[in-house]
């Protein structure tokens, strides 16, 4: 067995023969032609044929994917008949007697380079278009079959990266999955794979060798693993995973669009936790009702210096627009403890979990906080935003943070910049202090989100990364569950909504308890949405509430 590690960009497991995409590339020869006029005519014929094919592709794309997709091929048509392009080719054939396929390859590369070196992302990306067009003309000159797959059975398709015109022409019924040596998560191959719902792995580099052609492979788009000639263990493991996936898909089809409602009519929102704007796809795929926790740290972790207001604004705006009106709760900067960033230049602490972290950093360094708040409020004009402060222990902290929100709103007013009037302000409940004074906190916020990971760690004084503490660390400890109950009651008393955004939210053993307590929302990883929905829909709260709440509040010293 040969194991290759790439980057999974579309989930799922597929098994089948590996097949390399056939294209003209690399097979051209160079020679001097005798009859230059005839060679020029050969080019003109191939060009005309390419323009005709592109016209057909544009129509095909229009039917399959709309006007936007058709435009791409119409642009290719125009490039194919561009005068500069054509005249450069004409010169090399007529004046120097070079053969057409060599000339088109060279001129295509030359024009692609001109775009690639431009100082503009959009224009840089056009280099691929020029290459695509030139490749098409070369293919026609060489008499290569278009379509790329000449196989009777479905295959796992391997290539360097597929050009947009190539992905449109593929016979989709023959493809089980994709493996590419290059590419990115937003490449055409990745997008096509996600649309088709089949696995794709990119960036495997030169580990993918043509000699593997025809050999059996299993690919796992979740982990990015390609197993060539899989051994029995791998096969059993991955095929089991495949079965689970198919089950999940079946569940999805059955539960998609269904309400999160118990048999006796109690509803709960099921939202998603995400850490990156690209996770939004998974939220929508799994039918998440919104985003209950968008960790903003990635913006800071991806940068070598403090991210600018505009940079943050674009990221928040993207998530808000992509969610299309569904609520998005964005948590303000939560670093410190186990998450350190070099340019923050934080002094080393003896006890970072109890140190300068999260909201404490923001209140101590208001210039950083202000930049983030401005970006957030500006983005609020593009969707339904909730702003959430992490690591609260006292009322004054929340008041100070809210005062900064007021200042930012006043600034934006003065600058004439739009923001939404109904941004919700909430806090994480992850310290015992916040839970115990949640009656006071509930009066000054719109919502609570209980961060059960930290709340458990602080309540039990137990580091969950420490393996020696196994039996002392109990995620179902009644102290934690009683705090959740207390927080929920206090929130409701003062008209705030309350959710859970820790891992406990997805724990199906506690779903009945959470419904009995009366939580309004559970925010979980996207793939947990549907199993949780299924559990909710199987529950009858009135049958279990009394017993569960009695057990939770009883003084029986059994645990």
């Amino acid at each position: 067995m040969i194991t290759i590690q790439g980057k999974g960009v579309s989930t799922g497991v597929a098994a089948g023969p590996l097949y390399f995409y056939r294209r003209a590339k690399g097979t051209i020869t160079r020679f001097t032609v005798e009859d230059r006029d005839a060679e020029w005519q050969r080019f003109k014929d191939a060009q005309a044929k390419a323009i005709e094919q592109l016209g057909e592709l544009a129509e095909k794309a229009r039917v399959e994917a709309g006007d936007e997709a058709a435009m791409l091929f119409e642009t290719h048509q125009m490039m194919a008949e561009d005068l500069d392009y054509e005249e450069t080719i004409q010169g090399l054939i007529m004046d120097e007697g070079q053969n057409a396929e060599a000339v088109v390859t060279d001129v295509g590369a030359q024009f692609a380079d001109m775009f690639a070196t431009m100082d503009d992302e959009y224009m840089k990306a056009r280099a691929a278009d020029v290459k695509d067009v030139s490749g098409r003309i070369v293919g026609i000159l060489l008499g290569v079959v278009q379509g790329g797959i000449d196989s009777d059975v479905p295959v796992v398709l391997a290539s360097d990266d597929l050009a947009p015109s190539e992905t449109v022409q593929l016979d989709k019924s023959k493809i089980l999955g994709f493996v590419t040596s290059g590419g990115s998560g937003s490449s055409h191959t990745a997008i096509l794979a996600r649309t088709m719902g089949i696995p794709a792995i990119i960036g495997v580099g030169d580990q993918l060798k043509e000699e593997y052609e025809g050999r059996e492979v299993i690919i796992d788009g979740g982990t990015g693993i390609v197993a060539v000639d899989p051994d029995e263990d791998t096969r059993v493991h991955l095929m089991k995973k495949r079965e689970e996936q198919l089950k999940r898909l079946a569940l999805l089809n059955q539960l998609k669009g269904q309400p999160n409602e118990t048999k006796d009519g109690q509803k709960i929102k099921i939202f998603c936790n995400i850490g990156d704007p690209s996770d939004v796809a998974a939220v929508l795929e799994n039918d998440g009702g919104g985003v209950g926790l968008f960790r903003s740290e990635f913006l800071y972790l991806n940068c070598d210096d403090y991210p600018t207001e505009d940079y943050q604004f674009e990221a928040y705006k993207k998530v808000l627009s992509d969610l299309n009106g569904k609520e998005v709760v964005i948590r303000t900067l939560d670093i410190g403890a186990d998450k350190q960033i070099a340019y923050f230049d934080m002094p080393k602490e003896e006890n970072p979990a109890l140190g300068n972290r999260a909201l404490r950093i923001c209140l101590n360094r208001p210039e950083i906080f202000r930049t983030q708040l401005r970006a957030l409020f500006r983005a609020s004009a593009f969707g339904k935003l909730g702003i959430m402060f992490p690591m609260v222990t006292s009322v004054w902290e929340v008041k100070e943070a809210k005062k900064m929100c007021d200042q930012v709103r006043a600034e934006l007013d003065a600058e004439g910049i739009a923001y939404s009037d109904d941004v919700e302000i909430g806090i994480m409940i992850e310290t015992p202090a916040a839970a115990v004074i949640s009656d006071r906190l509930a009066q000054i916020v719109d919502f609570f989100s209980i961060g059960t990971n930290d709340l458990t760690q602080y309540t039990l004084a137990c580091d969950r990364q420490n393996n020696d503490l196994g039996r002392f660390f109990n995620a179902h400890h009644p102290a934690v569950l009683r705090l959740i109950k207390l927080v929920t009651e206090n929130a409701h008393k003062h008209g705030a909504w309350v959710g859970i955004c820790g891992e406990l939210g997805a724990d199906l053993e506690l779903t009945e308890t959470f419904l009995s307590i009366g939580l309004d929302e559970l925010s979980v990883s996207p793939r947990s949405v549907l199993p949780l929905r299924q559990k909710v829909r199987e529950t009858t709260v009135s049958e279990v509430r009394e017993r569960l709440m009695n057990d939770l509040m009883s003084d029986a010293n059994t645990i």
């Binding site: 048509q77 125009m78 561009d82 005068l83 500069d84 001109m114 775009f115 020029v130």
Partner: protein
């Protein structure tokens, strides 16, 4: 010779698709040569890739010059086209 100046408002600048439509429009202006200039650089507007390589972005001022044929009509048509597409 007639010319007009125009400030690009489209966020992507002069991108491939409308530039392509522009080429088609100009082909209909019989006997007229159209030049687009941004600063020092200029390109024959019939040449799609040359126009794209001017790298015209939102906020840039371009100067469009028409020469030959019915210049007044051509300039008016193009000015309208720029307002609609760029």
């Amino acid at each position: 010779m007639k010319s007009f100046e125009y400030v690009i408002t489209d966020p992507v600048g002069i991108h491939a698709r409308p530039a392509g439509i522009m080429v088609k429009e100009i082909k209909n202006l019989i006997g007229t040569t159209v030049t687009i200039a941004k600063g020092e650089k200029s390109a024959n507007a019939l040449r799609l890739m040359a126009v794209m390589q001017l790298g015209i972005k939102q906020g840039d001022t371009v100067k469009v010059t028409v020469e030959g044929g019915d210049e007044a009509a051509a300039a008016a048509t193009l000015e309208k086209f720029f307002k609609e597409h760029f």
